[in-house]
Amino acid sequence: MHYAQTEVYAEDPKEQVLHLERKEDDSAGEESASAADRILRMETQNLSVYYQEVRGVDRVDMPVYADRVTALIGPSGCGKTTFLRSLNRMHDLTKGARVTGKALLDGKDIYAPGQDPILVRRKIGMVFQKPNPFPTMSIYDNVSSGLRLAGIRKRSILDEAVEYSLTHAALWNEVKDRLKSHAFSLSGGQQQRLCIARALAVEPEVILMDEPTSSLDPKGTASIEELITMLKEEVTIIMVTHNMHQAMRISDYTAFFYLGSLIEFGRTKQIFTHPREEKTEEYVGGQFG
């Protein structure tokens, strides 16, 4: 595909930050944007997902740029969730689901033999549609659960990670005095931010979010949106959304899916103002879906 030659994978995450700080290309939104500072975090190549013999996602090639928000849009049932879950091997757990093709993270295929799905999921975290904190655990234990799974027991490290993650999930000020209380004592929006903090704690490179605001009220939604725009400074985000305005507000890139295929991928501005494909135009113009 056209973008393929211009991308680079950064070897060292620090270096990427430097690259990104230098770049300022949100203006034109066309492919002409300076090539060297677009850094790929992930990329799918010919990725298909089958449920039994039915193809839910059909040969998708898509880049995911580092420290940017990519929105996946499309009508219900078009395979957004299916595609998203193929990016951290969640389909390994679904009976009858099968993935073919490649999904590269920093240039390495996460489906390659020898790749441990457990480690893949630590690098590529996930936030779900409905907030799902562990209900029997405290706020503190929820946030630190991923680190404790990774074998970290030292109190000082956990304390620091919990504060860091909650701060970055914009929840610290609200809960710092009651870290020991139960996760269910939080509001829906707070619970979702808690889940984001839980995902952040293991310092993933990518976070996948499947309609993270669809079960929240407008206030909760606004807080998550604000959080996502802040978070992209340090983590790459791929987000499914049904809300066009949300995609426009917070994403840098947008991918439009239809019937399991990726119809169009581009800068969000371009997708919503000058879509190249007719289908995209109809969809973002509200003609179907």
Partner: protein, 325 residues
């Protein structure tokens, strides 16, 4: 919508149906429900009425604490039976709990579906065996085996090497406290397993996925997401199984040896409340003996009632959304 159904759905409902339907339905339900409660209360009242002569003579707590049971002499104390019931039921729960929960976890989480089906069927079958059949098996197979392979060798060993243990072991015979406890634990395993399995199946998918997405392994998903979420159901299952162990009569009466001399020793006969009732009711011609057996029944009723209440409250407190959260 086509006109045909609309015609029906717009039809006038008869006023009697409309105003009385709800009332009649709820009244019938209420009466059926109330009759069950009434039955339980009536049963407790009969037990009290029939048992009260003995309770009056010995006192509520005197009857409870007295350790002499002498129908001929007219002295009745239920302590041996209550002790036996508590020891057998709690020990069997202790023995059964971990294997039973493990079986449920294996069937619900690890086993491929064909194996899970086999495990589930076996467990259900175990639950369906009549307790008198288990008693027969215990008498002819299990008890002799235990005496020859465990009780006798252990007693000989203890006599040589650890004479201090001998008082706890007692004179080894086939039908004794240990035999009854082990068989009782076999009998409650299917209950704990089935209730645990149900509790595990109720854990929402998104809880498991939350753990998977953090990079949990299979066992870690169970530890982090499944068991904590299911703990209310598991604990309630354990307590309900305890209630079953408290009330289990036939197999225990057949295997425990039925001797009411305290203190009980591991390899010597003991007894329980249901066992004494089933063993003695035929001979209870004396008024006081009869009343005392009824009183034992009343105490058993109370214990079972308390255990069931405890199960309900534990489930409420431990389950997700409950007070402990």
């Amino acid at each position: 919508m086509n006109k045909g159904t609309r015609g029906y759905s717009r039809r006038r409902v008869s006023p009697i149906y409309r105003s009385w339907g709800d009332f009649i339905f709820s009244t019938i339900l209420l009466m059926l429900g109330a009759s069950i409660i009434f039955l339980a209360i009536a049963m407790a009242w009969v037990l009290w009425r029939e048992g009260s002569p003995s309770i009056r003579r010995h006192g509520f707590f005197g009857f409870l604490m007295g350790s002499t049971w002498d129908p001929v002499g007219g002295v009745h104390g239920a302590r041996p039976f209550i002790t036996g019931t508590l020891i057998t039921s709690f020990s069997s729960l202790l023995i059964a709990f971990i294997p039973a929960v493990s079986a449920a976890v294996i069937s619900a989480e690890y086993a491929p579906s064909w194996l899970a089906r086999i495990i589930d069927t076996l467990i259900d079958l175990l639950a369906a065996i009549p307790s008198v059949v288990i008693g027969i098996w215990g008498i002819f197979v299990f008890a002799p085996f235990m005496r020859d392979r465990i009780y006798l060798p252990l007693s000989f060993w203890a006599a040589d090497h650890a004479p201090r243990l001998l008082p706890a072991l007692g004179n080894p015979v086939s039908y004794n406290l240990t035999t009854a406890v082990i068989v009782l634990s076999f009998m409650i395993i299917p209950y704990i397993t089935a209730l645990t399995r149900d509790a595990i199946h109720l854990v929402p998918k998104d809880q498991r996925e939350a753990a998977w997405a953090l990079g949990a392994t299979r066992w870690e998903v169970i530890r982090l997401a499944v068991l904590p979420y299911a703990r209310g159901g598991i604990a309630a299952g354990a307590v309900l199984s305890l209630a079953r162990a408290v009330g289990e009569t036939m197999a225990v009466a057949m295997l425990i040896g039925n001797a009411n001399n305290l203190p009980f020793r591991l390899f010597q006969p003991a007894t329980t409340m249901p066992a004494v009732i089933v063993n003695e009711f035929r001979e209870a011609v004396e008024q006081m003996h009869y009343a005392s057996l009824m009183a034992v029944g009343l105490y058993l009723f109370i214990i079972a009632f308390i255990v069931n209440l405890a199960a309900a409250s534990i489930q409420k407190r431990l389950s997700v959304g409950g007070r402990m959260l």
